[in-house]
Symmetry: C2
DNA sequence: CACCCCATGTAATATGTTACATGATTCT
DNA sequence: AGAATCATGTAACATATTACATGGGGTG
């Protein structure tokens, strides 16, 4: 997965490892973390495989290595991105994929988002079934917190479903989502 | 982390690896996955360290190994659970910890949940700042999805904040959370 | 001139998945 | 009788973190 994310971040602009890490931190970083220890070797490996180009440049006395996707790299990336979202992956990995959906042709994107919506709907119904069953039972203090995480999951599924329906239509994000802090 | 989760699941009852995996799947499994490949060796290692007891039992022709926490194991577990929630960890890891909060004395629990609430509040405000800044800019189709994940993060922070405030008070879960499917 | 950010990376460690291997028991 | 589930685990692979190591450049 890191491979694809790295390629995705240098599709149209060459960047150094350091640049990439910075970009990750204030964009996809909310649900995908990157460490130098893995990023640098991976960038090198991707260049060796011919998926990225690497150009070295001295700036002052400082060596910078710029990476950018090759045609082959772009192909591999789009191939990965076009595949159905891995429904068994963590929610964070799924979001990391959707992060790049702007690169996908609308036809493919619509299909994938539709599939994903259906999957979330099913997950939500399962949560609701479990929650209803649990609501009937009595609960001691010890099990309260364990069960509360299930309710979090239920709410979260609602949340994702609302979100996915929203972005399927490409509705203006600032209208549907931003809410003043006071409300909560 | 797996160490602690395994101990936490055999605090009061002896269970086999298979039992544990089952229990994980329909409780904490929503945000913490477990695989046999790591669970069995880890259980053995924990028994070697004296944190779990292991008792073998033949049931018919089938050998079962039951694991249960020792006093030392319980101590190590509670120690871990009492520590502040790792604010740099993934949301899933954080939830996995709160899952066990019923085992914590109320005083410690209240402090940890309070710390966590403040942290989420801050994260939420950051999200809102970024979202407001972005709302002003114009956006092309390519960047729409990347930015949409940020709005998901914003909504999610709202969601967690509501949840954490709710469970801090130990309000009845079925009242605050369950909603009929149709609403969405 | 001290401190923080820029910039590259390696080595040791850790964590975890997937496929494979084996066999018993229960359900249909 | 065959399939699903119970039950244990190993080996190969994959993924990722943390600490360490090095040094340039800009700001207070």
């Amino acid at each position: 997965m890191l491979d694809y994310i790295l390629i995705g971040l240098v599709l149209d602009k060459k960047q150094t490892g350091y640049d990439i890490k910075k970009e990750v931190e204030n964009s996809i970083g909310n649900f995908y973390k990157i460490s130098y220890g893995r990023m640098y070797p991976t960038l090198k490996a991707l260049a060796d495989k011919g998926l990225l180009t690497m150009t070295e440049q001295m700036e002052g006395k400082r060596l910078k290595r710029y990476y950018m996707a090759t045609e082959k790299g772009r192909e591999v990336f789009i191939n990965w991105l076009s595949a159905p979202i891995d429904l068994k992956a963590s929610g964070e990995a799924q979001l990391a994929q959707i992060f790049f959906y702007g690169e996908l042709p609308k036809e493919v994107r619509d299909i994938r988002l539709q599939e994903f919506e259906i999957y979330i709907q099913q997950a939500l119904m399962q949560f609701e079934g479990i929650a209803k069953a649990l609501a009937a039972e009595e609960m001691d203090e010890k099990s309260y917190y364990g069960i509360s995480t299930l309710y979090y999951g239920l709410q979260n599924a609602h949340n994702i479903l609302r979100w996915i329906r929203f972005i399927k239509e490409q509705k203006p994000l600032s209208e549907g989502f931003i809410r003043p802090y006071n409300e909560d």
